[in-house]
Assembly symmetry: C2
Homo-oligomer: 135 residues x 2
């Protein structure tokens, strides 16, 4: 049985956060976004909850950030999908056993006091996946 | 107010459906996938529901399919995200008014008797979005 309970959030990389929020609101009729800086990751974020799933726009603030390198290489678009888990440490141990992340990978803080962990599934699944424990 | 009620499904393009399902099960501990052909789109699909959101792996059957062209250009990975709507015709009209799809765009059948409509947001938002009315 999987430890992955939900699709918790989806991150899209954008070049300019204000321009992107305006475009999402204009084209899709979405409401207000909430903004939060994540200085440790060198990014600014804007999020909106749609039917229980967070859509998060992520814009690089630092040229050294992973987000900046991704934007440079791929342009705007899908960055990662995060699964919701009840117990992040337990989920990380289970997925490390499956080879989806290194055993010594540590959790890190996300926005909204989420605890998150990056998987290493780009090579094996073609997609950057991620885990989030929200409370 | 937006007509987009939920994140209904996320499609990932894969080269080989059986290899991909096996990899998702092995790396993420996911359970059984359900398979369905979608001949009109030239693809085979395998889906699993995670916390109310369908994760759908899509593999091209036909070299002429959009999926095949996407795989050729981008490799495996994120293809589109579909928003759930209550009333597809109403949602299409509203989003056409916003310039997210042409006014003459028609709905088409998806898997599981879903009715779906493709938006044209790749240029404006950097992401292929889609609408689904599930019942």
């Amino acid at each position: 049985m999987t430890v992955l309970n939900s699709v918790h959030h989806i991150n899209f990389i954008v070049a300019d956060l204000d321009v992107a929020v305006q475009a999402y609101q204009s084209k899709l009729g979405l409401g207000s976004f909430e903004y939060e800086e994540l200085p440790d990751r060198g990014v600014s974020t804007a999020r909106i909850l749609i039917g229980g799933v967070w859509i998060i726009l992520v814009s690089p603030r630092s040229k050294d950030s992973l987000a900046a390198r991704y934007l440079e290489a791929h342009g705007e678009g899908f960055f990662l999908m995060s699964f919701g888990v009840d117990n992040l440490q337990q989920a990380m141990a289970e997925l490390a056993r499956r080879g989806a992340l290194p055993k010594d990978r540590t959790a890190r803080p996300g926005i909204l006091d989420w605890q998150v962990a990056d998987l290493e599934t780009e090579q094996s699944l073609g997609v950057r996946f991620h885990l989030t424990q929200a409370d």
